[in-house]
């Protein structure tokens, strides 16, 4: 039982980061109908920016802000510079350009910074609180959960309760109609990319201090798992990302603890296959699917 509580708590913190990264994929899918396969590499580049600023100023928060800004800039730049030039209504070129971007960014980071792992220190203690002798969440875990929850809530508000969010959604669902209503659709796509990569960068910034250290591949596995999460939850559904993120985090933690580490990717694959066989559009797929 103790072990279960411990593993569940660890899975919750992991799940929050997963959910946030998955949400970033949902954002870019909803606003630009694109799956950004370069999300991990772009987030890693943003974390390098944060790392450099923290090293120079000594302030974690300055680094965090820089990382978010760098992520937003990278996202906007990728959309303006590359994605916009691709033919609409065909997903393949976007995916392939993103793969190219992964190669360029990761190789560029490795050339610029070398392959070493650079330790990043969390702003709060990672020493867990003990409840009945069982270590549960640490202050840093709580920070992670709070940051992820706050960003998710803010994004939900932005999308559902503000005129800007309305325009973002309209531009994604029906670009031509939106343009006829005076919505600056290209600007919305840029904004969607910027928001998405910034959210992904935040997830990466939360994750890396708990990992071995910063390196060009530090975010790869998070992306793969988060992509699985987004697909399981339904690419159009922010709530699905949250649900599937927490669920997958728990699953990975429990399987690792009770079975073995190598069984975890198989468990995720199995969960994904199962969900997609029953619901091909993910757990919380919208009722009326749009194909464009």
């Amino acid at each position: 039982m103790d072990r279960f509580v411990f593993l569940a708590a660890a899975g919750l913190a992991r799940g929050a980061v997963l959910a946030l990264f998955a949400l970033s994929l949902v954002i870019v899918w909803r606003t630009a109908r694109a799956v950004n396969f370069a999300q991990a590499a772009m987030a890693a580049a943003a974390v390098y920016a944060a790392f450099a600023v923290t090293a120079a100023t000594g302030s974690y928060w300055a680094g965090l802000a820089t990382g978010l800004a760098a992520g937003a800039l990278l996202g906007a730049g990728a959309e303006r510079g590359l994605m916009r030039r691709l033919p609409a209504h065909a997903p393949l070129p976007g995916i392939i350009v993103a793969i190219g971007l992964v190669m360029v960014l990761q190789a560029g980071l490795a050339i610029a910074f070398g392959p070493e792992h650079r330790p990043m220190h969390p702003p709060f203690s990672q020493r867990p609180f003990l409840i009945g002798g069982v270590p549960v969440l640490s202050p840093y875990d709580l920070f992670t959960l709070a940051a992820a929850a706050a960003v998710m809530a803010a994004l939900a508000l932005l999308f559902n309760r503000t005129p800007l969010g309305l325009q973002l959604r309209a531009a994604a669902f029906a670009p031509e109609t939106a343009r006829l209503l005076g919505v600056r659709v290209p600007r919305m796509a840029t904004l969607g990319w910027a928001l998405s990569v910034a959210a992904a960068s935040l997830a990466a910034l939360l994750l890396v201090p708990t990992e071995l250290g910063l390196n060009p591949h530090a975010v790869d596995l998070l992306f793969v798992n988060a992509f699985a999460v987004a697909v399981i939850g339904g690419l159009d559904s922010p709530a699905g990302a949250l649900l599937a993120g927490i669920g997958t985090g728990l699953l990975v933690s429990l399987v690792t603890g009770y079975v073995s580490a190598s069984a975890a990717p198989l468990a995720v694959l199995a969960l994904m296959t199962l969900v997609l066989l029953v619901r091909p559009g993910g757990l919380l797929a919208p009722k009326e699917a749009r194909t464009a």
Binding site: L166, Q167, R169, A170, F173, A174, E176, A178, V185
Partner: protein
């Protein structure tokens, strides 16, 4: 002064042009019916006017201002609105969201609320379904919503593409009635592309007949409605 003027408009998707060196001038406050058989180029002309289809040659001016180089969004923001053919309602959004979307660039928050209430007053059927998602609306409701959404932004020139398509005669009459009344009240300029010749000519001042991408006839509406030869030649009845 002319509200909408185009000169030498040529549009094509490769191959032969769909619109061929077309000149058109619409006076401020006029309601013009754009008529023609299927494939005459009505939809293409409207899409070209709003910038959804690129021009090969020609220029477009709105109240004397050259729009040719502007994007669709900017043309809309200068007062040119298009209610496209078919179901242009964003099905994922609610009626209220769809409606407000039309006026976001135009109004501040308070003014937007007021403008939306005006539209609900104009279309009571929509008022009853404010929170309904777009995909639950009937064809008539969707068309009303699309028109209301366009009017919300107080355009100076409104382009409509087949608003009566698929609607019951009663709904068509109601829609065209609202349109006529609004035009009369606000001085809105309307270009109405229609297959429903009788309905269109009943609300229009002037009728323009397109054939093979060029203007085949341009006369007062009453005149056109009364000319069986012309009707037979270009409009197929």
């Amino acid at each position: 002064m002319s509200a909408l003027a185009c000169e030498g408009l040529t549009v094509g998707y490769g191959g032969a042009p769909v619109i061929d060196a077309l000149d058109l001038d619409i006076a401020e406050g006029a309601v013009v019916a754009l008529l023609g058989a299927n494939g005459a180029g009505k939809t293409t002309l409207l899409r070209a006017l709003t910038g959804l289809v690129p021009l090969r040659t020609g220029r477009i001016a709105l109240h004397g201002r050259d729009l040719t180089a502007e994007s669709t969004e900017d043309r809309v923001r200068s007062g040119l609105a298009l209610v496209p053919e078919g179901r242009s309602v964003v099905v994922e959004l609610t009626v209220d969201e769809n409606l407000r979307l039309g006026g976001l660039w135009r109004h501040r928050r308070k003014a937007l609320d007021a403008a939306a209430e005006d539209m609900y007053a104009l279309f009571p059927a929509l008022d009853r379904r404010r929170r309904a998602p777009g995909h639950t609306l009937s064809g008539g409701e969707r068309q009303m919503l699309a028109l209301a959404r366009a009017l919300l932004a107080r355009p100076r020139v409104l382009l409509l593409d087949e608003p009566s398509l698929g609607l019951a005669p009663k709904a068509t009459a109601q829609l065209l009635g609202v349109l006529r009344a609004t035009a009369a009240r606000t001085g809105l300029t309307v270009l109405l592309a229609e297959q429903n010749v009788t309905g269109a000519l009943s609300v229009a001042d002037r009728g323009v007949v397109l054939s093979l991408g060029a203007v085949a006839a341009d006369r007062p509406a009453a005149d056109l409605a009364a000319d069986p030869a012309l009707r037979h030649a270009y409009l197929g009845f």
